[in-house]
């Protein structure tokens, strides 16, 4: 095209190196330029992506996080940097940076956590790479990729296997202790008796330490289920009592020997209970792992189908990945107990069948074998069950005497207690709710239209009284600031009265009076040159008198309403008193059952139940006397204690977050004791709502800060207390 100055301009897209020569045509004559220009193209290369310490392979069990520290360069410009995770057929691409297309260098770091959702969701090796895209306008954007970090996720069932091994170790220690007790006699000499019992107590404490460590630990994110932990703690409490109380100084040898026989018997029961519970957990885990592996087997079948029908490469990769996962899962299963061992063999047999068909180029057979394995794993029963075939051929016969049923009845008995506690807490909560609903209904009934009109009149008086106070102040720590705070609270009180919200009106009124007092205190220190207090001080005094009067009216009105509500809901209250008494009796019986027999509840759970019983009896008594306020309060306390006791028994086969819950290193019982202690000091519910102070609680900035810190840190779950305090301090710094 013409350049407007007598010359011409031509543009071509240059693909490769070439020679450029200009020529001019005049009719049939072409005149070439003498000189040629050698044009050399420099290819737009793909971005270069470097990641520190690559390539490398890591195990997710060893590495909690995988840092990807990268540096990306391009000869022309970058538009995007991605973190890419690939596992088998799955890919997860995450944009790390979007760039302007001119930037030629980008550096950064991104971390992949071992509990990343993608990592958690797959069981085949994961390739982690950084990829970057350039802005090549000629041939289109190109991607460059880094070397790979291969992250090997834990095998299916790895955590369960670790937990089972830890419990097996614990069982082994209990068996060793039993063995010693079965083959030891109480010495006869008086001098030898004391060291003998000291040794017994030491052995018990050592085992108890192992118990606490085992049930408090996290196994790849899995904890020991609470109900199992409670059963074991109950056994240890029982054993502790046996060891502690069976041979007092001065007892005869016969008495001590009898006591030691009791220790032996109790040790036997402890071993059987632990063994039964551990095997039951292992079998439940085996069933769960089996179901997960069924999905993997289905994946294998899909791989074989793809391989056979349409996408050989992809299908083959998918099948191989699935077989790898199945192999890992089988190894995990093999580390559990009998059902796990059985299912491990089932998986191994299935894998060998699939591999055999693949070797024989029978991909349809591979698909069928994989489907068959998936179907089997979805039904995770033992391979063989029922009669046992010992008495006869073909069918029939009873189960052989192999002792595997031992401990089962103990578990059942413990389960029953746990379930009874669950039911008790649920019924008590329902009863409490019924009473509260009845009281609330009655309260609504007594709030008539005339009382609403009365309340509005009182609200108007309050508003008038504070209308002369400032609405805002520059300094909160001044008389003006306190006066503004008083007005705000008084107006809130009036607003609550408009809605018949007497409780809220009472709180707001009390805050308004506190603000007035604060204003009065500050007025003494802020007198002017003539010794006169600030002008707002007088207005505050006048308003205070009115607010105080109105607060008195509110209190009186609330008492009347409560009495009326109690009268109206009398039948409900009386019925609730009876129900509360009955539930207290049940709680007492459960505590008694929980402290006796071969499968006692943990001692602190029993104590919690006894305290709950007391609170429930107090509630019943108060309700019988129509003291609904105290009745409801005691009822709540009873429910709180039941909930804590129940929490220790709640069956939760997979506590994925146990490790987080245990970060402070305290045991369950310690936490429950803390909760009880705090309650004893009259503090709010340890597990209930956090009492965050409202903006109306005027105490000055410093006081407010302290209160926030205290408020956030005290009433919450003790496990979180330190963390919350640190957070709050950081927040307010």
């Amino acid at each position: 095209m013409k350049d407007g100055r007598g010359g011409v301009v031509a543009r071509w897209t240059l693909g490769d190196s070439t020679q450029l020569r200009v020529a001019a045509r005049f009719g049939g004559v072409l005149i070439l330029q003498d000189e040629t220009l050698q044009v050399t193209t420099i290819e737009d290369t793909s971005p270069k992506v470097l990641v520190q310490d690559t390539p490398r392979t890591l195990r997710a069990t060893d590495a909690r996080e995988v840092p990807m520290v990268y540096e990306v360069t391009d000869d022309h410009g970058l538009t995007q940097v991605d973190l890419v995770l690939r596992a088998g057929e799955r890919e997860d691409r995450r944009v790390v940076a979007r760039l302007d297309g001119q930037t030629r260098l980008d550096r950064g770091a991104v971390v992949v956590q071992s509990d990343d959702r993608f990592v958690r969701g797959v069981h085949v090796p994961i390739e982690i790479v950084m990829e970057a895209r350039d802005n090549d306008p000629i041939r289109g954007p190109k991607w460059g990729r880094s070397e790979t970090v291969v992250l090997i996720p834990p095998a299916v069932g790895e955590a369960e296997a670790k937990r089972c091994e830890a419990l097996r170790e614990l069982r082994g220690a209990a068996v060793d202790m039993l063995a010693r007790r079965l083959t030891t006699e109480v010495p006869t000499g008086a001098k030898a008796v004391a060291p003998f019992w000291r040794q017994e107590r030491e052995a018990h404490h050592k085992l108890n330490g192992l118990v606490q460590a085992t049930i408090g630990a996290s196994y790849g994110g899995l904890g020991v289920p609470r109900r199992l932990a409670a059963l074991v703690r109950g056994q240890m409490d029982r054993l502790h009592r046996a060891v502690d109380s069976t041979c007092e100084p001065g007892n005869s040898h016969g008495a001590c020997a009898g006591g030691y026989a009791k220790v032996r018997d109790t040790s036997e029961v402890t071993v059987l209970a632990l063994d039964g519970a551990m095997r039951a957990l292992a079998d439940a885990d085996a069933a769960s792992i089996s179901r997960r592996l069924a999905e993997v087997a289905e994946d294998a079948a899909l791989g074989a189908k793809l391989w056979r029908e349409s996408e050989p490469k992809r299908g083959s990769a998918k099948l191989q990945a699935a077989l790898t996962v199945l192999g890992g899962g089988a190894r995990s299963l093999g580390r559990l107990e009998s059902l796990g061992h059985d299912l491990a063999e089932v998986v191994e047999i299935g894998v060998r069948r699939i591999e055999r068909t693949v070797r024989g180029d029978d991909l349809r057979g591979a698909e069928l074998a994989a489907v068959d394995l998936a179907r089997r794993l979805r039904r995770p029963y033992p391979s063989f069950a029922g009669g046992g075939g010992q008495h006869g051929t073909e069918a029939g016969g009873g189960a052989p005497l192999d002792g595997l049923a031992a401990g089962g009845e103990m578990q059942d008995s413990f389960e029953q207690k746990g379930n009874a506690l669950d039911e008790l807490a649920r019924e008590h909560a329902a009863e409490m709710e019924n009473l509260q609903r009845a009281l609330a209904d009655a309260m609504r009934e007594v709030q008539t239209e005339s009382s609403r009109e009365q309340a509005r009149e009182h609200a108007r008086r309050i508003r008038r009284a504070v209308s002369g106070l400032p609405t805002r102040a520059m300094e909160t720590s001044s008389v003006g600031g306190a006066a503004a705070m008083m007005r705000e609270n008084a107006e809130r009180m009036a607003e609550a009265l408009d809605r018949l919200g007497f409780s809220e009106a009472q709180r707001a009124g009390e805050n308004a009076l506190r603000a007035a007092d604060e204003a009065r205190r500050m007025a003494f220190g802020q007198s002017d040159l003539f010794g006169q207090p600030p002008a707002e001080a007088h207005a505050v005094e006048r308003a205070r008198t009115t607010v105080e009067q109105e607060l008195g009216w509110v209190r009186e009105r609330m008492e009347q309403a409560q009495r009326a509500a109690a009268d109206r809901s009398g039948e409900s209250v009386r019925r609730s008193a009876g129900a509360e008494q009955e539930l207290a009796e049940r709680t007492k019986r459960l505590a008694e059952q929980g402290s006796t027999g071969e499968t006692p509840l943990p001692q602190d759970t029993v104590e919690m139940l006894r305290e709950a019983e007391q609170a429930m009896r107090q509630a019943a008594q108060a309700l019988r006397g129509a003291d609904t306020e105290r009745g409801v309060d005691r009822q709540r306390e009873g429910q709180r204690l039941l909930d804590i006791a129940r929490e220790s028994q709640r069956d939760d086969a997979s506590q994925a977050d146990v490790s987080r819950g245990n970060q402070d290193g305290s045991s369950d019982s310690e936490r429950r004791r803390e909760a009880r202690d705090e309650s004893g000091m009259g503090r709010p519910l340890a597990t209930g709502r956090v009492d965050i102070p409202g903006a109306d609680a005027f105490r000055g900035p410093e006081e407010f800060r302290k209160r926030v810190v205290r408020g956030l840190s005290e009433p919450v779950d003790p496990r979180l207390r330190d963390a919350v305090r640190r957070y709050a301090e950081g927040l307010l710094r």
């Binding site: 039993l178 083959t183 073909e394 069918a395 192999d402």
Partner: protein, 511 residues
């Protein structure tokens, strides 16, 4: 196993009726006579003959396609059978749909299974778990003995090859036989004979094994009964004759007849667990419990023994051939009456009268109703003993196991554990004493037999030792102590197939 046989018979009847209707209606049913010839050859396991009959069959002939599918199913060529039976015209027949589903299940459950063919002994064994191939030489020997004993006792020659499907679990047993898995689990079914082959659960699957060799013979007897009667034997005869035949391939075992079938039958009948012989239901495996199955097995075994004892040794083969040759609609009772002058009702009455006077007592340990006396004590102490032995505490284990023995004095399992505990303590004599008196065992235990055998071998009683080792092997071959005859590694038994089994059991120990 009779459920499928019974169902099969019913389905066959339905198919024939359908065939007649189609022929009468002039529909294109196919070559009915040719189909019947093929069917007869198939159910008598003359599969090559059946294949010849079906060769060149017209493409559109539904009945011949059905029979071809059946023949392939009997030949355990499941994938091919499934292909033939999936034809829409075959699927439209009730029996066609049933066979198609069965063939598909078999194809799935046997995909990738290892097949071992033993031409010498006329045996084809297909196994899901390839490790089970070390059992094949033993199965082959037993099958050879079984051919002779079944021909002698039942008058039926078993065909060659015999086909055995060795499966891992109840799930697969159910899949390839049609027996409901729940039923198999409830009654502890370990094997089923149908479709011309024996399907067995691998003895590796059962923690303490099961009498797998007698079971094989029991199931082969079923195969023989199907062939010998053209599948006309009622369930009581099927199971009674199979029980009668199952132990006759080998030398008598001191444990045979203990507990006595007569005593169990009588006690079971008195407890209401028994059934009338002609009212057992579709299958023993479908009875409500393992105890019911045990009693019904005892009833039919006791009755057949009584029948043979009273009517003579040729009575049983005569009954089978009589059924095969009887006119259509004739029952076993009719044949019995024709041959002995008394029908089933009369024989049953006589047997019950005899039973009331001659059946002994059921051993105290065998409980048909409720748990055994002192069971809880025994179970607890056995478990404690096992745990203590696992941790190497022989002395402590002996203490709790002595309590268990007191509670269950005839339990071989307790004695074996006690023997092991004493052995750990170095008390050889007490260990021997624990397992010396093993007969008659209430519940056999392979480890107790093996220990007994080892002690006899040390006392140079080779014959006694071999008998004990065999009893152990016939019960739990995958137990390493059993397979290796209690020899310490690297020693292995002298016989080649036993040595191979021993090595495999050590390499892949049963969990």
């Amino acid at each position: 196993m009779s459920r499928t046989r019974g169902g099969w018979k019913g389905l066959l009847g339905a198919a024939c009726a359908l065939l007649m209707l189609l022929v009468a209606g002039g529909a294109q049913a196919g070559d009915a006579l040719r189909a019947e010839r093929a069917w007869k050859a198939t159910v008598q396991l003359r599969l090559q003959e059946a294949a010849r009959v079906l060769q060149g069959a017209p493409e559109g002939d539904t009945m011949l396609a059905l029979e071809r599918g059946r023949m392939l199913l009997y030949a355990t060529r499941y994938t091919e059978a499934s292909g033939v039976l999936q034809r829409s015209d075959v699927l439209a027949l009730p029996e066609g749909a049933h066979l198609a589903e069965l063939a598909a299940n078999c194809a799935r459950s046997t995909a990738g299974a290892l097949v071992v063919t033993d031409d010498e002994h006329g045996l084809v064994v297909r196994m899901q778990d390839d490790r089970d191939q070390v059992l094949v030489p033993i199965l082959a020997q037993v099958a050879t003995h079984a051919r002779r004993s079944i021909a002698r006792e039942l008058g039926v020659q078993l065909p060659r090859p015999l086909r055995i499907e060795l499966v891992r679990d109840h799930h697969s047993l159910s899949s390839i036989t049609g027996l409901a898995e729940e039923s198999a689990r409830t009654t502890g079914t370990v094997a089923v004979a149908n479709w011309g082959r024996v399907a067995m659960v691998s003895p590796r699957s059962a923690t303490h094994g099961y009498p797998w060799l007698d079971t094989l013979v029991h199931e082969l007897a079923h195969v023989a009964l199907s062939i010998g009667t053209l599948d006309r034997a009622p369930l009581w005869l099927q199971e009674g004759a199979a029980k009668y035949a199952e132990g006759r391939w080998r030398a008598a075992d001191p444990g045979d007849g203990h507990p006595s079938a007569d005593a169990v039958a009588l006690a079971g009948i008195e407890l209401g667990l028994g059934r009338d012989l002609d009212d057992i239901g579709p299958s023993v495996a479908m009875l409500p419990s393992a105890e019911h199955a045990m009693v019904v097995f005892a009833e039919v075994e006791s009755f057949v023994r009584y029948y043979v004892r009273e009517a003579g040794p040729r009575a049983l083969p005569g009954l089978l051939s009589g059924l095969r040759d009887a006119a259509a609609g004739a029952t076993a009772s009719d044949v019995m009456k024709a041959q002995t002058g008394r029908d089933l009702g009369a024989w049953t009455q006589a047997w019950r009268a005899w039973l009331g006077q001659n059946a002994g007592d059921v051993p105290a340990e065998l409980t048909l109703a409720g748990p055994a006396p002192h069971a809880a004590t025994a179970v607890r102490n056995v478990r404690l003993g096992m745990l203590l032995l696992e941790r190497g505490h022989g002395q402590a284990a002996s203490r709790v196991l002595l309590v268990a023995r007191e509670a269950a004095p005839h339990e071989l399992r307790v004695r074996a554990l006690l023997g092991e505990a004493f052995a750990r303590m170095g008390q050889r004599q007490q260990s021997w004493t624990a397992v010396a008196a093993i007969d008659p065992p209430m519940v056999p235990d392979a480890v107790a037999f093996s220990m007994h055998g080892r002690f006899l071998a040390e006392q140079t009683d080779r014959v006694g030792a071999d008998r004990s080792f065999f009893r152990a092997l016939a019960l739990n071959p995958w137990n390493a102590e059993t397979a290796c005859e209690m020899l310490v590694e690297p020693l292995v038994p002298a016989a080649a197939e036993r040595a191979e089994l021993c090595r495999a059991a050590r390499r892949w120990p049963r969990y």
